[in-house]
């Protein structure tokens, strides 16, 4: 059976996530979140509230650390480089250059 209902969501950014909410969304212990904030690879140390981009970043960090035994700094570097590649590809497309 298929249920059909209209769901109203909350935009993360209009509200932010706290450490526990981010941990639950990533299925990790809150310690994991705290450790990554302290290491400077996730969110801002001054205010541990998290936005949409932090949630996506946390999930990517986790995947790299788990599957590649990556150290948190290395995982962060890989993500930053991948983001830069995506940004540059978007610019190439905008300039009408083929994504080679």
């Amino acid at each position: 059976m298929v249920t059909n209902q209209i769901a109203i969501g909350v935009l993360i950014d209009e509200v932010t996530l706290d450490v526990d909410e981010l941990a639950r969304a990533c299925r990790v212990e809150p310690d994991w979140v705290v450790r990554h904030v302290q290491a400077g690879v996730l969110g801002e140390q001054a205010a541990p509230r998290f936005r949409s981009s932090d949630l996506a970043r946390a999930r990517r960090l986790l995947e790299l650390e788990r599957h590649f035994d990556a150290d948190e700094e290395l995982a962060a570097l890989v993500i930053d480089l991948a983001d830069e590649v995506r940004r540059l590809r978007a610019r190439l497309r905008a300039l009408g250059l083929k994504d080679a």
Binding site: N4, Q5, I6, G9, D13, R24, S52, R59, H67, A94
Partner: protein, 301 residues
């Protein structure tokens, strides 16, 4: 349900060590990662690889999978043996896949009475058009979730959900739908659903956060002499003044006409001067007159 051969997916044999599995997985991820792969079905392939590794990379899940026995072929219709799940405690299903399906079938009754746990949060993506971000929209997502059939049995089912996309969303933003995640256990509440917003690629536009960039073709005389032109934009048709003496690449900023987020973005119109074809005597005569009368050399230093 269809049998899936996870060993074949990772290109390894059943005797592979945990180390072999990890190495094979890493190699495949590198080969098919959507950010680097030129492979046509890189996304689907990556999903299969991740699913296979989620099972074979975990000693408990691998043992349970191996116990399903040999001799099954990928895609064949398949039922696990009735008592199969009782020998393994693998912590329940982790992904929307064949293996999750098996454990969903195995049921959660063995956790016993008094066991309470909030359901896991669920993650999915939803892809919208740029205009949806300007106006808001209702879009449909289909999720594969375990559904209880009583007596500790469950199957994976498609659940279709209509979702309100609020006006002003930008790429990568997450929409949290309370209580739309996995069901809880022992009377505890369900998890939440996080939907990541993606945009359908549109060659006319480039989006950076709430800023939108749009290429606008203009004629040489509009660019040279200046003109008022009507430009179709995601915010509707806008009357724009092209300043005299414009060249290709000139950016015109329309403040607040980007995505109407909490901090509204701007819309940048990027002028692209397009030459009319010299495909008639008259057109050629005009170009010849320009060549003669303008004495213009763009390569002059």
């Amino acid at each position: 349900m269809e049998y899936k051969d996870y060993y074949a997916t990772l290109g390894i044999d059943r005797g592979a060590t945990a180390d072999d599995i990890k190495k094979a997985y890493r190699k495949m991820v590198r080969k098919y990662h959507p950010d680097v792969s030129k492979h046509e079905h890189a996304d689907a392939k990556t999903k299969d690889i991740n699913e296979a590794y989620a099972v074979l990379g975990d000693a408990g899940k691998r043992a349970a999978y191996d116990a399903l026995g040999r001799g099954h072929h990928a895609g064949e219709q398949f039922q696990p043996p009735p008592d199969w799940s009782e020998h393994f405690d693998v912590g329940g299903a982790g992904a929307d896949d064949f293996f999750a399906d098996l454990f969903a079938r195995a049921g959660r009754a063995r956790h016993g009475r008094g066991f309470q746990m909030r359901g896991d949060d669920l993650h999915a993506t939803i892809t919208i058009d740029l205009v949806d971000a300007y106006l808001g929209a209702t879009r449909t997502v289909t999720l594969r979730v375990p559904r209880s059939e009583g007596a500790g049995r469950a199957t994976m089912q498609d659940r279709t959900l209509s979702v309100n996309i609020p006006r002003g969303v930008t790429p990568g933003q997450q929409l949290r739908l309370a209580g739309q995640g996995h069901a809880g256990h022992g009377g505890a509440g369900p998890g939440d659903l996080y939907l990541e917003i993606g945009f359908v690629p549109d060659p006319r536009y480039r989006i950076e956060g709430a800023q939108v960039y749009e290429n606008v073709p203009v004629t040489p005389w509009e660019a040279a002499l200046g003109a008022a032109v009507a430009v179709p934009t995601p915010a509707g048709t806008v009357e724009v003044t092209i300043p005299a003496g414009s060249q290709s690449g000139r950016k015109l900023r329309l403040k607040g006409k980007g995505i109407p987020a909490a901090a509204p973005g701007d819309l940048y119109l990027i002028l692209d001067v397009v030459l009319p074809p010299a495909n008639s005597d008259k057109a050629r005569a005009v170009y010849q007159a320009m060549a003669r009368d303008l004495a213009f050399n763009p390569r002059a230093v």
